[in-house]
């Protein structure tokens, strides 16, 4: 392949950006799933696309991983330095994909699944066997290797799925909700696996609906809502966007709750939990003034907790039309 002078800057950019997309669009009939999103993922970093169900996360992964075609009015999309529109096959050679629903062949054994991948990556018989055995061992599947994959537990299937993805040694890996449906132990195992990949310098594009997961793993997070990027940045940057810190007062007696709610008009009420939320940054000074204020109002809560902003606040602030923590008008029906 000859590299022309004109394409040289592209090659330089490709070395730093593993994934870049501008104006990514996709709609099915009247329904717009992705409404022009821009993404850049530097090589060797973990990028998390965070969003509620139906936000378009999976669609984005499907497009970037060449599974489905982007909307006709999308801008340029490059993965691994290759143009999606003109050279999808080169992208396929550079990436690995683990989908939301396990992409394993349930009718054959775990080992046969691995050897199938080795064959499709054109490894020699010996090399294929070596790689398969190594990955099965690494993902704690050696014992179950001779059993049909359909008999595996959810966590095992997901591990086999990732092991199959790694056979070709991809430098860019797409993980579409890798821990959805897994129990806490399997989830932590999966996090460990993802951290190992990152330590090897692999670029990871991750989708998740768990804020904790994005917080744990990702260098950069984009919050996707209704097909648009609602916010993007590091976990810290996102937390700064929303002043979600508050003091929460909980009551056990409905009467005490109601009198407190009428005394503290600034607090956001939660009828069902018999709780009031007062915006606060959690500093000592503010806490003291809140306590003084509560005393002077004669409010006696059964429980007081200080809540510092986390990604949950960001998430709810960005994906809901109303922000409960900043809503100072008591709602008639908080349901």
């Amino acid at each position: 392949m000859t590299v022309t002078r004109a394409s040289a800057p592209r090659a330089v950019q490709a070395a730093t950006q593993a994934i870049s997309a501008t104006g990514l669009r996709k709609s099915y009939g009247d329904k717009t799933v992705l409404d022009g999103i821009d993404l850049t993922v530097p090589a060797g970093t973990v990028f998390a696309l965070l969003g509620p169900n139906g936000a378009g996360k999976t669609t984005a992964v499907k497009i970037l991983s060449t599974l489905i075609t982007p909307g006709a009015d999308s801008g340029e999309i490059r993965v691994g330095g290759h143009d999606l529109a003109t050279d999808p096959q080169a992208i396929r050679a550079a990436i690995g994909v683990t989908g939301q629903f396990s992409a394993v062949d349930g009718l054959i054994t775990g080992e046969e699944n691995m050897l199938l991948m080795a064959d499709l990556h054109h490894l020699s018989k010996r090399e294929g066997r070596r790689v398969a055995a190594e990955l099965l061992e690494r993902f704690d599947l050696a014992e179950a290797a001779k059993k049909p994959a359909s008999t595996y537990s959810g966590g095992m299937k997901r591990r086999l799925d990732i092991a199959m993805t790694l056979v070709g040694g991809p430098r860019i890996i797409f993980l579409d909700e890798p821990t959805t449906g897994l129990d806490p132990r399997s989830r932590h195992t999966m996090w460990g696996i993802i951290r190992e990949l990152v330590a090897d310098g692999v670029t990871v594009f991750l989708t998740t609906q768990y804020l904790e997961e994005a917080d744990e793993l990702a260098d950069r997070i984009a919050v996707l809502n209704n097909g648009k990027i609602a916010a993007e940045g590091s976990a810290e940057e996102l937390k700064r966007i929303v002043p979600g810190g508050h003091v929460k007062l909980r009551f056990t007696d409905p009467d005490a709750y109601r009198s407190a709610a009428s005394a503290l008009r600034e607090a956001a009420p939660d009828e069902e939990a018999l709780a009031l939320q007062i915006p606060s940054d959690g500093s000592q000074r503010e806490l003291r003034s809140i306590l003084d204020w509560l005393d002077s109002a004669g409010v006696e809560a059964d429980e007081l907790t200080v809540h510092t902003p986390d990604l949950d606040d960001v998430f709810f602030a960005l994906t809901a039309s109303t922000v409960p923590a900043q809503n100072d008008q008591p709602k008639e029906n908080a349901r």
Partner: protein, 263 residues
């Protein structure tokens, strides 16, 4: 490796996967074999006396009827086998593994070609089994030369390739196994409306052209001619023409469907 060698390698890998499936779960293949074998025994031993009285100008005995119906049933066996192809392709497309294949740098149509080659092999094996049952109950060829046997074998392979490509397309447009099985029903119904069981000349006049020119009748008549020495006439060309036409049609249909974004 050249791209042709890569295509061949990926196709072999996919074929191995399909054969592994067939070997692990043989019940589908065996079920599909049951139809032609049951029909053979039914028509020979239950309807045989009446049926044989109706062919060859009347007065033919049961062995003449066995000779008459075996070639048709061999082709019906192919029709029955490809119903299984449509079902397994449709099943396969709902599996996550196909999505994985689509995101890998493999030869795209190897997924489909693997299914087709596997299914043709299965058809040939099934034809041999049904043929063996035919021989066991008294079927004998009449002075067929080695060349004629070879031509008969070639016809069976070509015809099963044709039906298989169409069945793969049917499997791809079917959302689930039930739909695939329904969509592929013509593959077993058409042989019933051909010269497999009774000569076309004994059918009502308005129906004769349909029976005569649908894909199965020319193939059956050609096979009869090769094995039993009856008149082939224009049926040979018709059979080859239908087969090649369906291979091309099925191939382009199936690959175009597979190239579309998955459901």
């Amino acid at each position: 490796m050249s791209s042709l060698a890569l295509a061949a390698r990926d196709t072999t890998t996919m074929l191995r996967r399909n054969l592994l499936h067939a070997r692990r779960y043989p019940s589908l293949t065996l079920n599909l074999l049951l139809t032609p074998v049951m029909l053979l025994l039914l028509f020979v031993y239950i309807f045989g006396d009446v049926m044989s009285a109706g062919i060859g100008g009347g007065g033919a005995d049961r062995s003449a009827y066995i000779a008459y119906i075996v070639p048709g049933l061999l082709l019906l066996t192919i029709g029955s086998t490809v119903v299984g192809t449509a079902v397994s392709v449709s099943n396969d497309m709902t599996e996550g593994i196909i999505a994985r294949f689509r995101t890998m740098a493999i030869h795209r149509s190897s997924v489909l070609v693997g299914h087709v080659v596997g299914s043709v092999l299965q058809s040939v094996l099934s034809v041999i089994v049904v043929g063996a049952v035919g021989v066991a109950i008294g079927f004998r060829s009449t002075d067929a030369t080695a060349l004629e046997w070879l031509a008969a074998f070639g016809l069976l392979v070509l015809f099963s390739a044709a039906l298989t490509w169409v069945a793969v397309g049917m499997g791809l447009i079917s959302p689930n196994a039930e739909a695939a099985s329904n969509n592929a029903l013509p593959m077993v119904l058409l042989p019933m409306l051909s010269s497999a069981f009774i000569p076309v000349e004994t059918m009502p006049g308005w129906f004769r052209p349909i029976a005569e020119y649908q894909p199965f009748t020319p193939a059956i008549e050609t096979l009869r001619g090769l094995l039993l020495g009856t008149e082939i006439g224009h049926n040979g060309w018709l059979a080859v023409g239908w087969s090649l036409g369906l291979v091309v049609l099925g191939y382009f249909w199936a690959t175009a469907k597979f190239a579309q974004d998955p459901r």
